[in-house]
Symmetry: C2
Subunit: 564 residues, 2 copies
């Protein structure tokens, strides 16, 4: 190969055409896969395959995704979503999602990683769909099948680190830097010597997924671990390039960040000094909701637990907006200003909140059915973009523990032992913590698709569907304005009432029945109980119960009509 | 001592009053000086002394500093400014600065550091004036004496690292963090567990200097090495607290940053998403000017050298505003928008640009007198706040090399050897590089105050004074608007013309005489040559010569009247 500009090397060769496998020798070392490999049919250590993105026959043309502001997102893991764990088998369940009312499907990372299965956050060939899930064309078939059902598809991308196995990038160029570190390894070089082409590597990667695979947007993993002191932050560059791609392709594209910074700048438009990311995950809302519903106070839940914090999350997104966090032992966050509710994704569950528990328990295993329904109702009536984790909608019995299939025995042992050590401080029997390397750990995470047709799953599925329908029926639920979110609560009596436009969500979290006042002439819409109340001034709510009513008028002006 | 809130310990004791020395034992280790020691009369390892800030008798009341937008700053090193090297002896030279036309005196760091002399950037007792310079009251006398002459005083503060000797802070609390690093040691903990009180330590420090010592502002060293991922950046917190202090004290306070980021956010007001720092040093202008005048292209000067870059610096502050830097091998900077010229300090020399050269040579040793005058003229007619380094105004013969007086023999040896190693790659004879630990290195840096009264120094001093007078006389030179800065140049013919309002600066940088067109009916004001031109349409300029003329009209509208 001959050196070209900016550190690139090039060669032209007759034998390189779609379907051919190739690899690189660097001086005397190698062979190594191409850093921009489009497909690794034999895994992270094998050769790369040439892929022609122009040959796929798309069935949808002039596709436009539904707007993000009224989205309902569904996070899924290709390997555990179906028994087969492939892109093609996932297509069979898209109708289920469509009927449920989902608008955006979000795939957990599918970039080639070490082993046949794993969560995907240890990807090393960022341009290649994981070979165990299917071929590049299979992934396109999945996206195309979703689009034919008017479902948008988002992809989770990891731009803060690379996985520990199969990462040959540093042999090619200065992809990493030592000045900063991440919990998972060296930080990616975004501002030091040679960073230009590293930034291009990531931006071109984002562009490829949206242009060649027609993803409608990306979910960017853990941006708090993306270290960049440049005057133009990598994410600002990325959001600008995605804007340009959007204009070029003529269809809407979105960027969603996972951010632990509580920094409103992330989702502030670039002209206003922000990074221009469209929306971010809202852990504060999750933590506030989860801790109220479960009473859990360990780890980061120590910072939460009051109804006041849940109310603040519902009206302000960040609970920690410049306040001292006892868990972090530091001031955390800043006040969001002029940001709409749809700048934040809300969720009762996601892969991390389930999977980072020792046994990967879902919310349904941690609280009463009544409380689960309260959580779901507050989620779908919140100002945020609601997001579900696969199977949540039918109260799937499968857990979602951490699973890996590393082939390197040292790494495999380190992962197994590390997992046990991580939870040693909790009151957990190490034997009851699933071994990530045990194939059964992965197998148990797979959804059982007979459940949606059986009780009690069927009723829960109907409950989720009713709430999604409610969100679609009442525009005040998706108007995005925090100013029009009204929350009342009584910390001691343990009730909370959320009002948005004509809708009021009443929840009794006490273990005793209590009377809550219902708006005059209101119509009961959804209840956690089998018996619906007679619409009147007051209603006795059972312990852990929920009631959603529709008032004939907006519930805002007289701010005290609803207090009990 | 008894534990109090937020990690503090406290004690009340009858024997603690102003003038008493004390130190702390931590468990069985110690004694250690107080992290907030107000004075270290016996150096960095000795006890701390109690100081009463209320007892000093200030002679100035209702003091208001001159506005920053029309400032002329003078950077000085207390130890080398006078033979005695003290706060009190520096007072004797304030009249010289006042007569020259200086408005703001900026002291290089005076916080207690290891040894009797040193540059000051390795301070470890950030609340204590260096004992070799005098007492806290002596420093107040200096500030008071400046104020009586209507001179503002700024202080250089180092908030990115602490020096290697006498730093006991990490024994008291988590002042440092490992996630980030700086070239000079561990980064200060501004966003991790325990960072609240570390941020208070620095903010309270800034407040102390401005409140108790009546400094008019601070110059914050190397903010690019201040690592903070918090949503409220430490510098935004600091600028907000300084705004509050300003309101409380009823006098104007300023913050000036040394920044290598070329990030306009630094000097953008907080409501517009910035950090709210008033102004920043502009290395791009220095490098562009210095490389054009000297022809130097080594190190970071490799990125500069063209008149086009000098013109861009004069009209845009940043030469690298999102462009690729060959020296950094990375994209650098972002475009400044809506920022006035006075947001940037311009300089032909400063302590770093002199002292970071192997032998500490001043600009006057590196270029012809004609070029020096061109540089000075462009500086004072630039849209920036001009800054001089001590002695520059009279072409001091004393160099300003790096000097230290570390007492620890290992550290002393490391500093001496490190300095030789640092310049080993340059074509320098290691023997000719001054040893920082040699007392003569420091002694040679001291200004010779007989020079201003002798030639050739006297004439240069008069030249600087004429330019400062010019800047004060013509308001267009301090109007701050980049839109009204007009620069023409010819890269091959090596001339440059800077026009601002009625003023035109013409410079011939070629080694041949050449004709440059002078505005019609203009009056020659300042020339590098002994003979003044007859005001006419064209003028033959000698090699390395300068001419400043005043036109009877604004020189902007007909944009081509000036081209030769």
């Amino acid at each position: 190969m001959r050196p070209a500009e900016n550190g690139w090397w090039q060669i032209e060769h007759d034998s390189i055409f779609p379907g051919v496998d190739y690899a690189f020798f660097l001086d005397d070392a190698g062979p190594f896969p191409d850093p921009r490999s489009q497909f690794q049919p034999h895994g992270v250590h094998g050769p790369s395959r040439v892929v022609d993105h122009r040959s796929f026959r798309w069935t949808t043309e002039r596709w436009q995704p539904p707007p993000l502001s009224s989205a309902v997102v569904y996070e899924l893991h290709v390997g555990a979503f179906t028994r087969e764990g492939t892109f093609l088998s996932a297509i069979e369940r898209l109708d289920h999602l469509k009927v449920l009312g989902i608008t955006h499907v979000e795939l957990m990372p599918v970039q080639e990683f070490s082993g046949k299965w794993g969560w995907g956050y240890d990807g090393v060939d960022l341009y290649a769909p994981h070979h165990a899930y299917g071929s590049p064309d299979d992934l396109k078939r999945f996206v195309d099948a979703a689009h034919t059902r008017d479902l948008a598809v988002l992809l989770d991308v990891v731009y803060n680190h690379l996985g520990p196995a199969g990462n040959y990038l540093d042999r090619f160029a200065p992809y990493f830097m030592k000045r900063y570190s991440t919990p998972w390894g060296p930080a990616i070089n975004l501002d030091d010597a040679g960073s230009c082409e590293v930034r291009r590597f990531l931006c071109d990667n984002a562009i490829m997924w949206m242009r060649d695979y027609r993803f409608d947007g990306l979910r960017i993993d853990a941006i708090h671990a993306i270290h960049d002191s440049s005057a133009i932050h990598f994410l600002a560059q990325l959001s600008r390039e995605v804007d340009e791609l959007e204009a070029h392709l003529g269809r809407s594209l979105v960027l969603i960040a996972e951010s632990d910074l509580n920094d409103p700048r992330v989702v502030t438009p670039r002209p206003a000094g922000g990074l221009g990311i469209d929306a971010q995950w809202s852990d504060d809302f999750h933590h506030a909701l989860h801790s109220v519903l479960t009473g859990e106070r360990s780890g980061y839940f120590a910072d939460f637990g009051s109804l006041a914090q849940l109310a603040k999350a519902l009206t302000n997104a960040y609970v920690y907006d410049g306040r001292f966090s006892a868990y972090r032992r530091a001031i955390h966050g800043a006040k969001p200003r002029n940001l709409d509710g749809w700048r934040f994704l809300g969720y009762l569950q996601n892969h991390d909140q389930i999977g980072n528990r020792p046994a990967g328990e879902r919310a349904s295993q941690l609280m009463s059915l009544g409380r689960l329904k309260i959580g779901v109702a507050l989620l779908f009536c919140s100002p945020f973009i609601p997001m579900l984790f696969q199977g949540e909608e039918f109260m799937a019995s499968s857990p979602f523990p951490y699973f890996t299939q590393h082939e390197d025995p040292d790494l495999a042992r380190a992962v197994s032992e590390g997992r046990r050590r991580e939870f040693a401080s909790f009151e957990w029997n190490p034997e009851s913590i699933p071994d990530p390397q045990d194939p059964m750990t992965f197998r148990r995470a797979k959804l059982d698709w007979t459940e949606p047709d059986r009780e009690p799953h069927q009723s829960i599925l109907a409950f989720y569907k009713r709430l999604i329908d409610l969100r679609r029926t009442f525009p005040e639920l998706t108007d995005g304005s925090f100013d029009r979110v009204d929350v009342r609560f009584d910390e001691r009596q343990e009730w909370i009432i959320l009002r948005r436009g004509r809708i009021a969500v009443l929840a009794n979290l006490s273990d005793a029945a209590q009377k809550l006042r219902v708006p005059l002439r209101s119509t009961p819409l959804i209840s956690s109980e089998s018996e619906f109340p007679v619409p009147s001034g007051e209603f006795v709510m059972a312990p852990d119960s929920l009631l959603i009513v529709q008032s004939p008028v907006e519930l805002f002006a007289p701010r005290d009509t609803l207090t009990p």
